[in-house]
């Protein structure tokens, strides 16, 4: 077979139009780099959003409520249909209702050494939405105290504003967790029930005073007003708080959430657009490269028409000629794909190292998707070559 190929090489000269072929090859290289880069950027972006190492506990949970306007003051509640609709959205992974206390309550120091008193309201959420993991987070009627989770920023406000202005001591989280205080719950008929309370953790996710759901249900049943039970706030877990679909949904339904958490939406749209433009440019270049390859094959076969006709007369089979021509043209494409993959791999490695210094983590290796796409591109080129060669051999020599 090798001797045959040496002789065929002398007969079927693939040198015609080499410059055009080289240009098509450069075009293909650029196209591949663009396409693979677009795919890899998408994968990286997804990894940044969803990777476990990058999981930002604040960013993935959103507390949502209605935008308070003059029209809905006092009735800015979320109906069951609205909650169901949010739950049905593709960006919602889990949904939980923030249940509000329907009783009056206050907390008060239980010693005179460090006196304080404040009226207060509580909320509760299903435990899965909490970012505080403590064994103390449970309550039943026999419990010695009511565990409470406080927004982390409350303590910051106390430590860095209130205590300084009032001449009070600053408190660490650990100290606060050691302080027992009274939780006064006032029933509708005027009686007061005093529970012991203690802060068991600080949440950076939900800006509300949280109590276990069991205590909320107990106190609401016994002391609460029988008013509307529709919740006004819900919490959702989402893969990507910056997802443009999520933002447009909230806007359309007149809902709002922490703006800070969704600010990435705009950046994301820009990234997506840039990636799309890169990908589409790459695709167009790729199609042009394919077209030039086809023309080049046509040119080569046409310029050797007589030789091919005689070869077929002598008994060369179309499949022999096809495999010879594929061997002439295709290997350079493999080199280009491998070269592009190496280039993307190096860029990926560099990017991973760079992002690591920014505390963002992506894989230092290119993704299997990128690898898969490059193999797919090779297959497409191969099929295109085969079809083009087959067609041109048929047109030029089959009758002999």
């Amino acid at each position: 077979m090798n001797e045959l190929n040496i002789l065929l090489k002398k007969l079927i000269r693939t040198g015609t139009g080499r410059v055009r072929y080289a240009m098509a090859m450069i075009g293909l290289s650029v196209a591949l780099l663009l396409i693979l880069a677009a795919v890899q950027i998408q994968v990286n972006y997804k990894e940044l959003l969803e990777g476990k190492q990058n999981k930002d506990s604040v960013a993935n949970f959103l507390v949502i409520n209605k935008i308070l306007t003059d029209q809905n003051i006092g009735k800015a509640v979320l109906k069951q249909e609205e909650i169901d609709d949010i739950q049905a959205q593709p960006f919602t992974e889990a949904i939980g209702v923030l249940q509000t206390s329907r009783f009056k309550a206050s907390i008060q120091s239980s010693s005179n050494v460090f006196p304080f008193y404040t009226d207060i309201a509580f909320e509760s959420v299903p435990d899965v939405f909490l970012d505080v993991n403590t064994k103390e987070w449970n309550w039943d009627e026999n419990s010695a105290y009511v565990p409470i989770i406080v927004p982390g920023m409350f303590l910051d406000i106390y430590n860095f504003q209130f205590s300084l202005s009032q001449g009070l001591p600053q408190l660490t989280r650990e100290v606060v967790k050691m302080i027992f205080f009274n939780v006064n719950v006032y029933s509708a008929d005027g009686t007061t029930r005093v529970f012991k309370g203690k802060v068991v953790g600080f949440s950076d996710r939900i800006s509300s005073l949280l109590i276990p759901q069991s205590f909320m249900n107990y106190a609401n049943t016994l002391y609460g007003k029988k008013s509307s039970s529709s919740p006004s706030r819900i919490i959702i877990r989402t893969k990507d708080p910056g997802h443009p679909d999520l933002i447009s949904y909230l806007k359309q339904k007149q809902l709002t959430t922490d703006q800070d958490k969704t600010r990435f939406s705009k950046y994301r749209q820009i990234v997506e657009m840039a990636v799309s433009i890169t990908g589409v440019t790459g695709l167009i270049l790729f199609l042009f490269a394919l077209l030039i390859f086809s023309l080049f094959i046509q040119l080569t076969i046409s310029s050797c028409k007589e030789e091919i006709q005689l070869l077929i007369s002598l008994g060369a089979s179309p499949s022999q000629l096809k495999s010879f021509l594929i061997r002439q043209f295709f290997p350079s494409n493999i080199s280009i794909v491998v070269g592009s993959l190496l280039m993307i791999s190096m860029l990926q490695y560099g990017l991973a190292k760079f992002l690591e210094r920014q505390s963002a983590f992506i894989s230092a290796l290119i993704s299997p998707v990128t690898l898969g796409i490059s193999i797919l591109i090779l297959i497409i080129i191969f099929i295109q070559y085969q079809r083009s060669i087959q067609k041109n051999i048929q047109n030029n020599g089959i009758n002999n």
Binding site: M1, E307, I398
Partner: protein
């Protein structure tokens, strides 16, 4: 391999052929394996047309030509190639060598187009027998017609076949070279137990023919 013609009439020669009598045109003729056939024909009676039609180089005829009972016009390209590689060989009247390949390469190409039937040394051996060993490394394009004719004969004999088709293969050879070439062809055909069809203008005694047909 059996070649057979079923009332074949070449379209360009239709009127002429139908007026004149012929042992081949518009008849049922078979060329069996191991059968040596001479087709004698004056100029212009369609010798080359016949050879090209038999070898499936042209299809402008009415009737049917069959290879092993299969209509050649219906043969798929791959199967046609397989026949030309393993069962049927040809010496063209116009030789059809690649002018840019050397004489040796022209023959070698045919040898390696399929699983080689014989070793490369055989090329040198046959070239020596036919007196063309000195031009083996010369480009075929610059060889004389007689030399090229002998190269074309060697090329036709270098691969497996059971039917050899030759179109005036000795037209440019002197008597001595014709005798040598005929001896080589005869030996190679016997070795393969192959048949042949040869066309020529006149009577000859180069081969012990099994049948002689007038075109």
């Amino acid at each position: 391999m059996i070649l057979s013609l079923h009332n074949v009439v070449p379209t360009p020669l239709q009127d002429k052929v139908l007026q004149q009598g012929s042992d081949v045109w518009n008849c049922k003729v078979s060329f069996a394996a191991a059968q040596w056939t001479k087709i004698k024909a004056p100029s212009g009676t369609g010798k080359t047309t016949l050879i090209h039609s038999l070898y499936k180089l042209r299809e402008d005829y009415s009737g049917r030509i069959e290879w092993d009972g299969k209509d050649v016009q219906q043969l798929p390209a791959e199967q046609l190639a397989q026949y030309r590689q393993e069962k049927i060989s040809i010496v063209f009247q116009d030789l059809r060598l690649f002018p840019n390949l050397t004489s040796f390469e022209n023959i070698e190409l045919k040898r390696v187009l399929q699983k080689p039937y014989c070793k490369q040394e055989k090329i040198f051996h046959l070239a020596e027998e036919l007196g063309v060993q000195h031009i083996l490394q010369q480009r075929a394009g610059i060889c004389s017609y007689g030399e090229r004719q002998r190269i074309a004969i060697i090329r036709a004999l270098i691969h497996p076949f059971s039917m050899l088709v030759m179109d005036e293969p000795f037209s440019h050879l002197d008597q001595a070279n014709t005798v040598k070439a005929a001896a080589v062809i005869m030996r190679e055909c016997k070795e393969r137990n192959a048949g042949f069809i040869i066309t020529d203008l006149d009577d000859d005694h180069h081969f012990p023919y099994d049948q002689i047909l007038n075109l």
